[in-house]
């Protein structure tokens, strides 16, 4: 496999560079989904319905969605574990399904529920994995486990959930991956393990600038790490945007609304902000808007009938709720 990578990857990279679409090779995406459709036999609606996305080098891309939204299907397709019904997933410009073996040697994966033979210790797992990758830094595994306080000589089956996640991260980083795929890595972890996981991830980002694709229920963690966020609902991407622009355009507005002769209908004045949720309460109106601007807000505040208008920031969790509706992704984990 390592031989295949050494000869295959540069040839393909060169071919990619000659394509007119990728004018700058340094900016060509690390991960790409092109019109991915996944349909399972016996299911009336597709699990993934025309997903297109692109993860640029050095970014930290977070895919959010409730259980059943299609996250697992998408991750399997991106990792070449599943062939899309239509469309394609690409890793480093190569087809993830057709060239899985060579492409995956450049990817580190922390699965949602890390699985390994229960009798094997982390040290044995490291020695075993070393044979599968062209590069393997075994001392880094020992060093990380020591930092985490996870015993390298204890059978995997006897470790706690948090310890297993930290073993999986140590193994994923040992191959010096260009891409790190984390499938809800902190789900079910206690605060100490979660903190350790994020600290190590931050160190990796600082030292190597690794591109990260992750799914998560932990929106507070996403808010601290992600550069780009996508929401998956019912097999479709309802949002795919830089976190900074997303947070700039979503706001909560609160104001008292006085009926006047010209304007008796509530809520119309919000049109300029593209309101996504409007609630009329006893004291006035509370709305979540998706197109906030300071100037528009100043005009809005001076409208006749709009009293005591105030705007406040929304957390990513609140934005997710407003866009994806009902329960938050954390609540039916």
């Amino acid at each position: 496999m390592s031989g295949e990578r050494k000869t295959g990857a540069p040839a393909e990279a060169a071919a990619e560079r000659s394509l007119p679409s990728s004018s700058s090779s340094s900016l060509s995406p690390v991960v790409e989904a092109r019109d991915v459709l996944v349909r399972y036999a016996g299911s009336p609606s597709p699990a993934l319905d025309g997903i297109s996305l692109s993860v640029s080098p050095g970014s930290v891309y977070a895919l959010l969605g409730r259980n059943g939204a299609g996250k697992s299907s998408l991750v399997r397709c991106l990792l070449g574990q599943q062939k899309p019904t239509a469309g394609a997933c690409l890793l480093f410009g190569g087809d993830a399904w057709k060239r899985r073996a060579s492409l995956m040697s450049r990817v580190g994966v922390v699965p949602e529920d890390p699985d390994a033979p229960p009798a094997m210790t982390a040290r044995q797992l490291s020695a075993f994995s070393a044979k599968l990758y062209p590069v393997w830094d075994a001392p880094s595994v020992e060093a990380r486990l020591a930092r985490f306080g996870v015993p390298a000589g204890t059978p995997f089956g006897s470790l706690s959930k948090g310890q297993r996640a930290l073993v999986a991260l140590s193994l994923a980083l040992a191959s010096s991956p260009e891409l790190l795929v984390l499938d809800d890595p902190t789900l079910g972890l206690d605060a100490v393990a979660r903190r350790a996981f994020f600290e190590e991830l931050v160190g990796e980002l600082a030292d190597r600038g690794t591109t990260v694709f992750f799914t998560s229920h932990d929106l507070a963690g996403v808010e601290r790490m992600a550069t780009r966020v996508a929401f998956l609902t019912g097999g479709r991407l309802v949002l795919d945007e830089d976190l900074e622009t997303l947070k700039a355009r979503f706001r909560r507005l609160r104001y008292a609304n006085e009926a006047t002769e010209e304007r008796s209908e509530f809520g119309q004045e919000l049109a300029a902000f593209d309101a996504v949720r409007v609630k009329v309460r006893g004291w006035g109106v509370e709305a979540v808007v998706s197109n906030y601007g300071d100037e528009a807000f100043a005009r809005f505040s001076s409208l006749e009938g709009v009293v005591d208008a105030e705007s406040s920031a929304l957390s990513l969790e609140e934005i997710f709720l407003a866009v994806a509706g009902e329960a938050s992704p954390g609540r039916n984990a």
Binding site: R195, E199, V202, L205, G209, L314
Partner: protein, 135 residues
């Protein structure tokens, strides 16, 4: 100093801008003196549990503005003579800050005299602190 360098990820202000603003304030108030070392990008990112690229972006803006300087192999420091912000930016910042404070005072129903006295008090406090700090 990093204890006062906190960020609020749920705020609408981007994290890199919060870092930039906080360092500017710490330098302006004298809490961070000229020549003082600031935490490395890696250390601050780990401490705050945020993406190091975010910290780097905030630091880069401060370096570009001449407030921080990077000494290769040594680390990042507050510049020996941090410049006053450019005229236009200074005006904008001052006006924006005054407007925010005025809005707060009006919302809380504070009389003009009291509002002005408070500002004078805060100014006095900061200047004493800064002066005392350099002695």
């Amino acid at each position: 100093m990093s204890r006062s360098l906190t960020v609020d990820p749920s705020d609408a202000v981007p994290l890199w801008k919060q870092i930039e603003g906080n360092v500017r304030r710490l330098v302006a108030s004298g809490a961070l003196r000229p020549g003082a070392a600031v935490p490395s990008v890696r250390d601050l990112a780990r401490e705050l549990s945020i993406n190091p690229a975010t910290v780097a972006k905030g630091y880069q803006r401060l370096v570009d503005a001449g407030i921080l300087s990077v000494r290769r192999g040594e680390g990042t420091f507050v510049a020996e003579r941090p410049p006053a912000p450019p005229r236009g930016e200074r005006e904008k910042e001052l006006e924006g800050g005054a407007m925010r404070y005025a809005a707060l005072a009006v919302t809380l129903g504070v009389a003009n005299e009291e509002a002005v006295e408070r500002v004078k008090g805060s100014l006095g406090f900061l200047r004493r602190k800064r002066h005392g700090g350099t002695e």
